[in-house]
Symmetry: C2
Subunit: 209 residues, 2 copies
Amino acid sequence: MSTKNKILDAAENLFADKGFNGTSLREITSQAEVNLAAVNYHFGSKKELIKAVMSRYMNELSPRLELALTQVCETNSPSLIDVFSAFIDPLLSLNEFKDNGTSNFLQLLGRGYTDSQGFLRWFLTTQYPEVIDNFVLAVQKSYPELTAEEMFWRLHFTMGTVVFTMSSSDALIDIAKSDFDRDLQISDVIRNVIPYVAAGVGAPMPKLG
Amino acid sequence: MSTKNKILDAAENLFADKGFNGTSLREITSQAEVNLAAVNYHFGSKKELIKAVMSRYMNELSPRLELALTQVCETNSPSLIDVFSAFIDPLLSLNEFKDNGTSNFLQLLGRGYTDSQGFLRWFLTTQYPEVIDNFVLAVQKSYPELTAEEMFWRLHFTMGTVVFTMSSSDALIDIAKSDFDRDLQISDVIRNVIPYVAAGVGAPMPKLG
DNA sequence: AAGCAGTTTAAACAAGCGTTTTAAATAACG
DNA sequence: CGTTATTTAAAACGCTTGTTTAAACTGCTT
């Protein structure tokens, strides 16, 4: 395995676990068993390393997500459950791409929105806008009465639900084990959250105030 | 104003804005216009300062929330909208307690769940368990079919929605202004999120798999 | 007025951070 | 094989972090 990939793998796991600010380059390089200077040699800076970690996933996920959402749009009358369910397979496919891929990616997404004052949000929305566009189109098709403004709010609420849930999914899975004696995985958490966000996005439009 | 309170006020604003990890004691003391060592003198450590900032709000909020939720439980057949609406007044009352109180508190809550690897979650759930208990009781009253396990998940999803939304509420309000020409405040965001979370928690129980 | 606890101050501490620099080792290629 | 380019290695850089120290100052009581 190349030094570059060893760094990416170690960085990904540590970032997901402890956040970007909370992970030092020395932790990364010592877990990757490479020299400290290798990060700056291969990636230039910590910030560029973060981008590289995210890009590796986005480049894998983005086309699959685009395809799945396009297919949903082409069906006759997709429900919101259908729209959100379109995320399942592309997300779970990240597990074949890499161990713990799904979990890591979703946790990284969560970190990126709260750590580092939104620079990752900027990065994702400017580098991968078509993902959001496709998603908005799919939701519009299944809930045409939703105004653009309500849509904006509800999509952001959904982002919050998913991202927050995933960034603490390890703790949730632990609690589910101890409190309800359930052995769950990240895929179960994803399937669990879908009815929730679908109902949230599908809530009736509030009366005009 | 006492040094202690100057520190608490400055710390609160900076923590809400940049997170706990992202804020240094030197930033806090220079904004508070007190000496650096004053933090350790009055609070002992940065961690204790974080607790103090949160406690100041929780001690204000907790009894009001308890009262409001108890009152909802006493009504005949409360809807989930009623339950979540019970949060509005207690939360907005924090604005009288302090400028930007509501916004700051909710953002701090969000920070506390993602920064610092969940120590704040531990602190809140162990120090203020009655808030959660009351909330669970109220939800059970308005949706008795919900199993304890489903309740656990949905309450956590809700926490995620609210906490994430609030931690990025400033950005959301900016977007609402530029995209939809709306001048919103934190109270509008709260009112906006209620139908969403109420619908999410109220989603039909999924079929047994 | 002296003493004293409570508070504030400036300075220093040790540790960790991202990054850079140096030199040595390795690989690629004519 | 020899030369050039790439990659690794160890050390140091300058800076920031939370915390501690010891001295100075404050306002109050005896």
